[in-house]
């Protein structure tokens, strides 16, 4: 089966510019996550979608970050304006289950590596 697709693979921008990342989860996966992985740290959850609704965005810096999953399939994460500390790998992940079941594994994309200069 096809995996989680993310693009672009790399992005270099200057601070205060805008950037957008795209994710297409595995077909049929209802739950989609965006994680931020700063160098030397573990992935940190930014936002979780169930179909096209937001389940958890408590750690999303909403003054500059936004995300949407309008049709319940692919998703876009945007940063506007970017700061130096946003330099990180942005990982998209998906899982199949609809209910709040914690024991299903996540499938991750290869990520988008963002460098803010």
């Amino acid at each position: 089966e096809a995996g989680v697709a993310q693009s672009p693979r790399y992005k270099i921008i200057e601070k205060r510019q805008s950037v957008a990342f795209w994710c297409n989860p595995i077909s049929g996966h209802a739950t989609l996550y965006w994680y931020q992985q700063i160098l030397g740290q573990g992935p940190k959850l930014l936002i979780q979608f169930q179909n096209n609704g937001v389940v958890d965005d408590s750690q999303l810096p909403k003054d500059r970050f936004s995300a949407e999953r309008l049709k319940g399939v692919d998703s876009t994460l945007k940063i506007q304006p970017a700061k130096l500390e946003d330099s990180a790998v942005y990982l998209c992940a998906s899982r199949q289950t609809r209910a709040r079941q914690p024991n299903e594994k996540l499938f991750f994309g290869s990520g988008t590596q963002l460098s803010v200069l």
Binding site: P43, L45, V55, L91, P102, F108, S110
Partner: protein, 111 residues
């Protein structure tokens, strides 16, 4: 609040020797524990999970992990390391459908 700690930034081991990557957790109630591996320029890949049952969990690529409730640990192990096992390993804990990841341990296997 739930959390997970990986006390070693890096583990070095010679090929053919056994390896252990340590993980301790803090969670109220019964934990759901996971190990993921990240190869360079790749996303995280699932290795194994503990939900309930046998304390020794077997996973992909010959890895296994031992759940120890009294020590709140979930160490990753492999009897004989391969150079190709060199990667970044993450322990994670989840009580709902969200995972909290540790900071990762870089495993370096030398020929």
């Amino acid at each position: 609040a739930q959390s997970v700690a990986q006390p070693e930034d890096q583990v070095n081991v010679a090929e053919g020797n056994p390896l252990t990557v340590k993980c301790t957790y803090s969670v109220s109630g019964n934990p759901y524990l996971f190990w993921y591996v990240q190869y360079p320029n790749r996303g995280l890949q699932f290795l194994l999970k503990y939900i309930t049952g046998d304390n020794l969990v077997k996973g992909s690529y010959g890895f296994e992990a031992e759940f120890n409730k009294s020590q709140t640990s979930f160490h990753l192990k492999k009897p004989s390391a391969l150079v190709s096992d060199s990667a970044l390993y993450f322990c994670a804990v989840g009580r709902t459908d969200k995972l909290i990841f540790g900071t990762g341990t870089r495993l370096q296997v030398f020929p």
